[in-house]
């Protein structure tokens, strides 16, 4: 029986939104599902060299963000708040034994997850192929569609 297939479009570059694509992709690979992640727009931040563990989370525009004390939106916009929120979230992840984005990315590569960077958004945002980590292929919508058309699961994150 042929393996099941999954594709994920990773379009977000914040710390919290980088987790779901990588958690699902690594788990899928461990369940014998052939998986492709297509990184586009801000999702490219995840696969820029040396950037995976520098992603941030913003308390702005996110009323569900857990904070030690309720923080008014105006305060949340002050310099340093993003750094603080990011440090807090990383500490929470760490305490609960959650892998870092960099670790998950390595595990995904090791498990044979196919990584594709969107060439068009790279061009628009001035990202060079040499800015992207090794082991990533470059392509566009047709590359993703070719994989997606044979997949049982296709997610946009």
């Amino acid at each position: 029986m042929a393996n099941k297939k999954m594709t994920i479009i990773a379009s977000k570059g914040s710390l919290d939104m980088a987790y779901p694509p990588l958690i699902l992709a690594t788990t899928a690979a461990s369940m014998d599902v052939d998986t492709t992640i297509f990184f586009t727009f801000y999702g490219l931040e995840i696969i820029k060299k040396g950037n995976a563990d520098k992603l941030k989370v913003s308390p702005l525009g996110n009323p569900a963000m857990p904070m030690p004390v309720p923080i008014p939106t105006l305060i949340a916009s002050l310099p340093g708040m993003e750094t603080m929120a990011t440090a807090m979230m990383k500490q929470m992840f760490n305490k609960h034994g959650v892998a870092s984005i960099g670790q998950l990315l390595e595990l995904a590569k090791e498990a044979g997850v196919k990584l594709i960077a969107c060439q068009m958004t790279m061009d628009v945002m001035g990202v060079k192929q040499s800015d992207i980590i090794d082991g990533v292929q470059f392509g566009g919508a047709a590359t993703w569609l070719d994989e997606a058309a044979d997949s049982q699961i296709n997610l946009f994150i």
Partner: protein, 80 residues
């Protein structure tokens, strides 16, 4: 209560969160020979269902699951 099930390898996944217990289990089972048994201990409350789904998908057999004081113990036989 400890079981009398014999196992060939042990994986300590206590303190790890999703998806690490599954990823580590996959690697450990891959290293076994057919019909060998892996014992896994996990504290992730989601791992009870996760492990069952993983085994079903990969065609491996969970011989036994034990629960006690926040720890789940799985005996997984490599059948795939």
């Amino acid at each position: 209560m400890s079981a009398d099930i014999k196992f060939d390898q042990f994986l300590d996944a206590k303190g790890m969160s999703c998806p690490l217990p599954i990823l580590k289990t996959k690697k450990a089972v891959e290293a076994l020979s057919k019909d060998q048994v892996l014992k896994v201990e996990s504290t992730d409350a989601g791992s009870k269902n996760d492990m069952a789904s993983w085994a079903k998908r990969t065609g491996n057999e969970i011989v036994k699951v034990e629960e006690g004081s926040g720890t789940f113990t799985f005996y997984i036989k490599k059948t795939a």
